[in-house]
């Protein structure tokens, strides 16, 4: 597969065009499937153009943090599996996969989307821990948005198993994971001084800077992460925020309840 060069991408964006003829504010085709992994308490698959991400959620029991003894916990991990791209090496998580996990984590955590206070088993001793594992299977850009969408879709379907005699009874479910909000991450990319969403891999390689903005149902911003070696002006950030709020609503509608 021939890759368009960085300069080519920059040039056509300058002329208000994209390689695949999309508008700057248009997503690629998105497909979401849930309940795809039997042994997970919740799971989802997201296809965003050719980007393919799988998210699995496992529930476990752990000790709470000392300053929040009655609250459940959230852990997000991301695997950039070598099968997804020639640039992914096997081994411990590198800075890209760490950033991906932490950005998705913050969007979910800061929006208080999961009712962590309802996950207490025994105060100060045992609480439920929600483990979100993101597995990137095919990398064609915009991994953060796809992963965050997959995590949200999976969370909405996650069930909490029964906990009896200090053992988790997998497969025997008590209730749904309490969900209060549906935060959506939208990454706005800056190329040739223009702002675009949902970059494919070639566009990502040509970007100056990107900003991931997570918004909640009310249209409030619940987390921000700027990436890339370029910069944003205040005006560009304001436009990016507007775009994220708008497009967040659009993606949220794909989730259902």
């Amino acid at each position: 597969m021939l890759k368009a060069s960085e300069n080519y991408v920059k040039k056509i964006v300058e002329e208000e065009m994209r390689i695949d003829n999309r508008r700057f504010d248009e997503f690629r085709e998105i497909k979401i499937e849930t309940d795809v992994i039997k042994n997970a308490e919740g799971s989802a698959r997201v296809l965003m153009g050719n980007t393919h991400v799988l998210v699995g959620i496992k529930m476990s029991v752990a000790s709470p943090f000392p300053d929040t003894p009655d609250e459940g916990m959230l852990i997000v991990n991301a695997e950039l599996a070598p099968i997804a791209s020639p640039t992914f090496e096997p081994g411990p998580p590198n800075e890209d996969s760490i950033e991906l996990a932490r950005v998705v984590d913050r969007g979910i955590r800061e929006s208080h989307c999961i009712g962590l206070e309802k996950l207490c088993i025994e105060e100060g001793k045992e609480v439920w821990e929600v483990n979100i594992d993101i597995h990137v299977l095919d990398h064609d850009g915009n991994l953060i948005d796809a992963a965050a969408l997959g995590a949200m879709a999976a969370l909405l379907r996650t069930k909490i198993p029964r906990y009896e005699n200090k053992r988790i009874v997998f497969g025997d479910y008590e209730r749904q994971l309490p969900i209060n909000d549906r935060p959506i991450a939208i990454t706005v990319t800056k190329i040739s001084d223009k702002l675009l969403i949902d970059p494919n891999l070639e566009e990502e390689d040509a970007l100056d800077a990107r900003i991931t903005i997570s918004t909640n149902e009310k249209g409030e911003i619940c987390s921000l992460q700027k990436g890339g070696e370029g910069y944003f002006t205040t005006e560009e950030l304001e436009r990016a925020a507007d775009l994220s709020i708008l497009k967040g609503k659009e993606l949220r509608n794909l989730l259902g309840n």
Binding site: P66, D67, T68, P69, E71, P93, E95, I98, E99, A101, R102, R106, E110, S111, L116, E117, I211, N216, G219, E220, I221, C222, S223, L224, Q225, K226, G227, G228, E229, G230, Y231, F232, T233, T234, E235, L237, E238, A241, D242, I245
Partner: protein, 246 residues
């Protein structure tokens, strides 16, 4: 669902718990050229947050296959000393320090003239010796000074500060208590005092309007820090002639 130990009120009669106004910095200290071995070095403190930065390079880049034949390669590593926080931090890299190293590297990449030193490596080490929130901001301010001290060619300095929201009030320079018990923490870095934002991270819930207000407050704060950074660099090479009319 309140955190254990949260004070009942964090803003009393327009003053914060440490007596500051909403838009007031903690006492800021800066010093350039504090280490002997490093090519360049600097200290930057926001109150009790104490960051030390050292620059080595440009130097021969190892491993060779990572060399870029046209540019210098920047390696920026952020790390917290085990004794920097109340609860001891395990030495070595963590996921958090890896992420912060990445965003600091990206911020500094905006201003360094990498093409002036092809095939070389430039190493920037940021050590947090004492942490009371806003550590990445103190670290980046120190790193920027250390790079200038080392003679690394740059378009401009990088200035950073944090802004937050506590009890619906927007504040400048988030301190330890506010980071722990407040609602929002946002780190912003800009090039010099221009409208060019090179680092932006935020945790918490804000409206779009609050977002823009916070960016503007951060930029105002950064403008003040910029003047201090420039003074600190000039101070390093004071000739004693500055006050004389020529």
């Amino acid at each position: 669902m309140t955190k254990v130990g949260k004070p009942d009120q964090m803003i009393i009669k327009g003053k914060r718990l440490d007596g500051r106004d909403l838009e007031e910095f903690r006492p800021i200290t800066l010093n350039v050229g504090v280490l002997k071995r490093a090519e360049g070095s600097a200290v930057f403190k926001f109150g009790d947050t104490y960051a030390l930065a050292a620059v080595y390079g440009p130097k021969t880049m190892h491993p060779k296959h990572m060399q870029n034949p046209q540019k210098a390669v920047l390696k920026c590593i952020y790390s917290m000393a085990p004794f920097s926080t109340k609860e001891r931090v395990r030495p070595g890299r963590s996921r958090r320090s890896t992420e912060i190293s990445k965003v600091l590297n990206e911020a500094l990449s905006n201003v360094i003239f990498f093409e002036d030193y092809p095939k070389t490596g430039i190493d920037v080490f940021v050590e947090i010796l004492q942490a009371d929130a806003s550590t990445r901001c103190a670290g980046l301010n120190a790193a920027s000074l250390a790079l200038a001290d080392a003679g690394i060619p740059m378009r401009d300095l990088i200035t950073t500060c944090s802004v937050g929201k506590v009890e619906d009030k927007i504040i400048l320079d988030v301190g330890g208590y506010e980071d722990n018990y407040g609602d929002v923490d946002m780190a912003v870095a800009i090039i010099g005092n221009q409208d060019k934002i090179v680092l932006l991270q935020m945790d918490g819930i804000i409206t779009k309007e609050e977002f823009i207000k916070m960016i503007k407050l951060a930029r105002d704060g950064c403008a003040k820090i910029y003047e201090m950074q420039k003074s600190a660099l000039r101070e390093r090479y004071k000739t004693g002639e500055e006050d004389v009319e020529s």
